[in-house]
Amino acid sequence: MNKVVANGDAAIEGIIDGMTLMLGGFGLCGIPENCISSLVKKGTTNLTCISNNAGVDDFGLGLLLQERQIKKMISSYVGENDEFERQMLSGELEVDLIPQGSLAERCRAGGAGIPAFFTPAGYGTEVAEGKEVREFNGKPHILESALTADFAIVKAWKGDRFGNLIFKGTARNFNPVMAMAGKITIAEVEELVEPGELNPNQIHTPGIFVQRIFQGVDYEKRIEQRTTLSKN
C-alpha cells in the first residue's frame, strides 16, 4: 500500500500531451503548487484542465497558461487573470464554463460511478444548450454528465503513505471530489506521516482514492485578496 513518490516530477510521470487533468483548489487556495511547477518544467502541452479557476497571471494555473500548455479549460470562474481572458477572447484557448455546483457534483459523480444526474442549475441559460430538460416537482432540471480525468492532482494538509488525506480550512474545496475522479490521483501534502498517525475518524479523503502521494516543498500559498482589520 505504499504510494509514496519522491516529488512533483516523479508524481506527474505518465502525464503526456493531450491528457485531461483535474486540479484542486479554489482561487489560489489549496492548489497543488509542486505539481504545477513540475508540469511547467516538463512542458507537457495540449492539456485539458478541469479546475474551478485558472489561477492568476503569474501563479497557479496561470503559469501553465503563460507557457501555452493548456488547450482547454473547464472552470466555473476565470476572472482575475488577464492572460486567460486574452487567450479566451482571441480563441487560442477553448473554455467550457460550468456552474460551480455542477462542476463539483460532476466530479463527485465521476468518482462515484454516477454517469449523469439532474440539476436545476443552468436551466434556461446557455449552459443548458443541447442538454436534456426534465421537470421534477414542477421545476425544470437539466441532465449533467460525470467528469473524470486521466490524472487528478490535489493538495492536502496532511497525508499518510496509504494516501489518506486531511485538508485544512477552505483549502479543502474541490480537492476531495477531484481525488475521487482521477484515473490516477496524485496528492501533494504539506506533511506526510506514517499510517496510523492520522485519526481514522478525521480523514477527509480515504486512501482508496489516491494512487501517488508526496510531501511538497516550498509552499508559497499566495493570498489573492489580503483583507484584514487593523487592531486599533
Binding site: 477572447l89 460551480q100 463539483a104 443552468g122 434556461g124 477552505t170 493570498i223 489573492e224
Partner: protein, 218 residues
C-alpha cells in the same frame, strides 16, 4: 438615493433569526456588517465554509481560510468546513434560507443576468447559476441604472441569462422592488427619491399601487 452601504443596510433588514445566508461578491458582502440587533444568522461561503466571521486582524490572515471572493476571513464559534460538493448540496438542497447577489440586469419575469458580456467580459458564472436556480429566496442588490444612465431593471434581459424566473426581490440605490406575476412592484422608495424618478429609471413594467413608503434605515 442610496449608496452601496445603504443598499446593504436595507437588505440587512430582510434577515430573520436563525437563517443561513449566502452573500455574493460586491454589495452583498457588505450586508454582513449590518445585521439587526437580536438576529443571529450564519453566513455560508460556497467555497466550503459555514459560520464565516469578519476579516482577520493584520498579520493573522491565513491563506487556507478565504471566502468565495478569495478574501481572507475568520471562523466564528460553531463554524464548519466542507468540500465544494457538500457546499452546493446545501445550496441546491435549499438549506440556505437567503441568497443575496449582484446583477447586471434583472427582468420583470424574474430573469437575471450577471455573468457574461459577449465578446467583452467572461468571468464565468461561479456559483451564481446554482444559487439562483435553487434558492427559494433571492434578493438582488444592484444599481438601478448603468454608468450611462440606462435602466438595468428591464422588460427582458439582453445579456446571457444566469437564471430564469427566479428573482423575487430587488434592492437598488433607488427602490425596493418585488416581482409578482411578471411585473415589478414598487414597495419602497430610497430616501429623497420620488416615484417618478424610479419610474423614469425603470425600463420594465412597474406597478405602483397606493402610497409608496420611504425606506427606514437605521
Amino acid at each position: 438615493m442610496l449608496d452601496k452601504v445603504g443598499i446593504a443596510k436595507r437588505i440587512a433588514q430582510e434577515l430573520q433569526d436563525g437563517w443561513y445566508v449566502n452573500l455574493g461578491i460586491g454589495i452583498p458582502t457588505l450586508v454582513a456588517n449590518y445585521i439587526p440587533q437580536g438576529i443571529n444568522v450564519e453566513f455560508q461561503s460556497e467555497n466550503g465554509l459555514l459560520g464565516m466571521g469578519p476579516f482577520p486582524y493584520d498579520g493573522e490572515e491565513d491563506a487556507d481560510l478565504i471566502n468565495a471572493g478569495k478574501q481572507t476571513v475568520t471562523l466564528l464559534p460553531g463554524a464548519s468546513l466542507f468540500d465544494s460538493a457538500t457546499s452546493f448540496a446545501m445550496i441546491r438542497g435549499q438549506h440556505v434560507q437567503l441568497t443575496v447577489l449582484g446583477a447586471m440586469e434583472v427582468a420583470e419575469n424574474g430573469d437575471i443576468a450577471n455573468w457574461k458580456i459577449p465578446g467583452r467580459m467572461v468571468k464565468g458564472m461561479g456559483g451564481a447559476m446554482d444559487l439562483v436556480a435553487s434558492a427559494e429566496n433571492i434578493i438582488v442588490a444592484m444599481m438601478h441604472t448603468n454608468k450611462k444612465g440606462e435602466s438595468k431593471i428591464l422588460s427582458k434581459c439582453t445579456l446571457p441569462l444566469t437564471g430564469v424566473g427566479c428573482v423575487k426581490k430587488v434592492v437598488t440605490n433607488l427602490a425596493v422592488l418585488e416581482i409578482i406575476n411578471g411585473t415589478f412592484h414598487l414597495i419602497e422608495r430610497a430616501p429623497g427619491v420620488s416615484v417618478e424618478e424610479i419610474q423614469n429609471a425603470t425600463e420594465g413594467t412597474l406597478v405602483v399601487e397606493g402610497e409608496i413608503p420611504e425606506m427606514q434605515l437605521d
